[in-house]
Symmetry: C2
Subunit: 219 residues, 2 copies
């Protein structure tokens, strides 16, 4: 079976999103700029159906992740945000199909942690969203069954990642640290429960825009 991995960008002060997340700012105020390092990369553009872009050490790091991942798990906020049952936000399309458009960048099965049951949603490019209401363990089992032996990526948000870390379910954690401070927002490494994961550094890759820190969870 593949690894269960986390791969996420944080500010130097540890936030994966800024404060005041909204439909206009799904990543909160200032949160979009966390991902500036990735936007121009060939590997990132390809996933989003675009051509061109840079190849460098950062794109190699991204390629490595994309090649390894078979299935993605995410929280409901990362799928589509909003409060209350799907479509209850009157400004959202009904049924609301999330942030990711007609051809999402996942290109494989995606399992969404939610309390609201819903039929699976198939999109272009191989992405299917399956909504799991039975908790993180069941979602992970379903993801691993669908992964064909590849990695299962716990993509976010912070709360979903925290739950899997606290449950001891994550094998590898890669954090792309950008030289920015957000001051407030959604912090990655908190609410990890009483028995904290023990980590071992695997490697560090440096580039001008971002530092890629990779850890193995040893216990």
């Amino acid at each position: 079976m593949g690894n269960v991995t986390v791969d996420i960008t944080t500010s130097l002060d540890g936030f994966v999103a800024g404060p005041n997340q909204s439909r206009e700012h799904p990543l909160g105020e200032g949160g979009e700029k966390l991902h500036d390092w990735a936007l121009g990369l060939k590997s990132f553009r390809e996933l989003h159906g675009e051509t061109g872009g840079e190849t460098n050490r950062d794109s190699e790091v991204l390629d490595e992740v994309f090649d390894a991942v078979g299935v993605t798990v995410m929280g409901r906020g990362m799928f589509g945000g909003g409060k209350g049952p799907w479509g209850s936000d009157p400004t959202f399309d009904d049924p609301w199909e999330g942030w990711w458009g007609d051809d999402p960048p996942f290109h494989g099965p995606v399992f969404i942690l939610t309390h609201h049951a819903r039929e699976p949603l198939a999109k272009q490019g191989g992405t299917t969203f399956t909504f799991v209401t039975d908790g993180i363990e069941v979602a992970l089992e379903q993801a691993q069954a669908a992964s064909g032996g590849k990695d299962v990526l716990i993509a976010g948000g912070a709360k979903a990642i925290q739950q899997y870390l606290a449950a001891g379910r994550v094998d590898e954690l890669q954090i792309h640290v950008v030289p920015q401070l957000l001051g407030d927002g959604e912090r990655l490494l908190e609410n990890l429960g009483g028995e904290l994961p023990e980590l071992e550094a695997i490697r560090v890759i440096e580039s001008p825009k971002v530092t890629h820190l990779k850890y193995r969870v040893v216990k």
Copy 2:
């Protein structure tokens, strides 16, 4: 004039000390292990009057800092902890002379931010503690005047560093990130005020025990 620098070890979740700091655990529960990477190094041992020890990339990083620093500034908690005026903790010696023993590892002038006026305290090995009650700007002026053109190190704790960062007074920030999670304690990068410092990555140095991240404050 030299730079104003910060050089400090944090856990991966951003803490410089664990929870429940006390006389027995000045760095809080679990906080001592943050510094395991440094204890065996030749450069660290020399500062503490000991011989032997390893030389490697980590010790080079430490040597670089020690060579550059002329004067140290720290908060009162880092000098000696305790609550209330000096010596008010009945378990402390009176007058309480801090955590650092007869031959402290600073080997130069140290300015302590405090609300309690006190005569300067001279120690062996060139360390003198001067107590400044007029705020961070005055302490920095005095430190720079005494630095002989070398760097002024804002050594800690977190609160002192935060105050200088928020005031736009820090030129360079080096964080030694160890692959540990503390879960709670004293966080370095918070309370930085409304206008957050803008950072530029200078370099990354990796070793098995710690990752040294160095940033320049550009604004």
